[in-house]
Symmetry: C2
Subunit: 354 residues, 2 copies
Amino acid sequence: MVAGVTLSDVARHAGVSQATASRVLNGSARVPGEDVANRVRAAAAELGYFPNAQAQALARRTSGLLGLVVHDIADPYFSTIALGVQRAARARGMQTLLASTERDPEAEREAVEAFIAHRTDGLILVGSRSHEFESDAALTGALRPYLDRGGRVVVVGQPLGTGGCVAPRNAEGSAALAGALISAGHRRFAVLSGPAHLRTAVDRCAGFTRALSGHGFRPEAVVAGEFTRDGGYLAAGDLLPLIGVPEAPAPLCVFAVNDVMAIGAIARWRAMGLEVPRDLSVAGFDDIPTLGDHSPSLTTVRLPLADLGDHAVRLLFAGADGGTVPAAARLDVDTTVVIRESTDLGRWRGSGRR
Amino acid sequence: MVAGVTLSDVARHAGVSQATASRVLNGSARVPGEDVANRVRAAAAELGYFPNAQAQALARRTSGLLGLVVHDIADPYFSTIALGVQRAARARGMQTLLASTERDPEAEREAVEAFIAHRTDGLILVGSRSHEFESDAALTGALRPYLDRGGRVVVVGQPLGTGGCVAPRNAEGSAALAGALISAGHRRFAVLSGPAHLRTAVDRCAGFTRALSGHGFRPEAVVAGEFTRDGGYLAAGDLLPLIGVPEAPAPLCVFAVNDVMAIGAIARWRAMGLEVPRDLSVAGFDDIPTLGDHSPSLTTVRLPLADLGDHAVRLLFAGADGGTVPAAARLDVDTTVVIRESTDLGRWRGSGRR
DNA sequence: ACCCTGACGGAAAGCGCATTCCCAAACCTA
DNA sequence: TAGGTTTGGGAATGCGCTTTCCGTCAGGGT
């Protein structure tokens, strides 16, 4: 920290009491007379006074801090949500404390504890919850006392058993995608899924598969990879045998449970001479910003990412600022299927010609 | 903020003084006896004690906070740097305060002031400085007292006239790119530049142009756009007349001063039926993560983005932790030219055939 | 038996600010 | 003019913690 001019310095310099200086320099309920106020403001400006937010937090019992925990800030999914959160926080005059856990549950817990220690007014956890018992249990354990004391928590992903939740309709979105693909004429499917413990990956995979079976189809394969670009790249290899099936009635259509995996998979296939959608179709999930500029442009399920962040902040403080009724602890977010080039059957060259 | 169990609660519960509890719960120089320490730790665990970081900051005169100001956290350039910063901060046990200014100098100044108020131990400003006098002057004005009191500031981009600086060798990188392109056989050039007030844009443009003239070439056009994907998309239109020149000896090679602009430009051209590198060549700058998976893969000048963040943190605290000699206030970062498909002359279809 | 030295706990003074009281002066009503 | 009511400012307390300063007690040397 950096020592600074204190409020009492300003007060002395302005020839008033500290209380008065305090009242002038931050819209207190009691506003001193105009002349005195001006003297104080002048003194503050002259001395280069900056209030000490730590001391204010201590005295006010409010830090004005918002904790944001993401799995990987360099991933466009998270950084776009972070943009929304940061924007909403700034609109409320709050500062954002960021932690990127690099997908380590342990790091996530540590970040949460650090943020609790910093007495953040609210905590937003972004990223799929896990099915692994320990990790979420440790998290809720750390969160419990925080919540009991009036702390606010919102998770973007799946509910944590506590706190609010902004929940994308993953299963519904995947199902809608499956329906759209079938309508478009697709007949052969595979799923590039994520880690089995990630609920987002599981939900999307299950939604897709269930919708498929509702139409009498089933995926020819479900392979799992890391939830990242590299995970998609690696797992894509397992699907190779399914791609060039002779006399197939339709190309293989691969649903990658998120966009970055889809991009990785396409890269892998391209490296092996396969082109999308010439040789197979690919669809993703999220609609991260750059996706439309990708070549081929990627069919996906759009999530309003920046809005997600905004919603999370809104939900966090629902009922806190004059709102009479605390809003629902859960906000389900609708998705939109976006059909693009990567599933264009018209550009399939047909397995027969291979 | 959220009220919590206080240290004195713990002390009372453990039957010791507050001083002792404090000494136990955070590696003080003086370590109490083992039995007492255990009593205190047990009490803390039982009560669910979390230290109040605000109060600690006040008493210790160190907040353990690192301020990070970026232009746009959703831009992969910034989010990747943010990853590096965040990682380095965590390694030092510090928390990261994030502000995304949405490229508004006013917002940048406000963020800096807020961070100063929060008594961050260090401040990292990422993003090109401006040639516009007012904005940087306002910033240095706010920074001056902070620095005078021992505050630390590092800018990633160009020096701010104060504080440290991690400076990518923009001009050199662009020049190297120009040289490589000429060696590869390129003969016709244009520059998709950024806003005239952004020093990064200007430096890259100038470095490229200067190197070109060193080889007897000059850009056929220099058009400016916003420093974003959309900026590239829009500005790309101005280059259309230059692309299909009949009987040209070589395709037009467009240097976009950053990758996201290049991506936007390619999208624009593709929308008009033009393909890269079939109809023209494109090169960017930065080597943002997804670039290799883009189609065509994009020739660019690689900047070690995550390392930039790491360097910034290191520079920030150089000499502060046992290091005897404060390191240089400036760290120049080398770049690497990466040639990929987007400038592949072999895939040019030739202007004659248009 | 004595003094000196360390080791160990506790009391208390802040860190910089918000805020509750309290007091004096000014204002109003009758 | 007297009483009551605002109004504007200051003194002082406390937010939760660190840290200096003291006091006490045990141990060791002579």
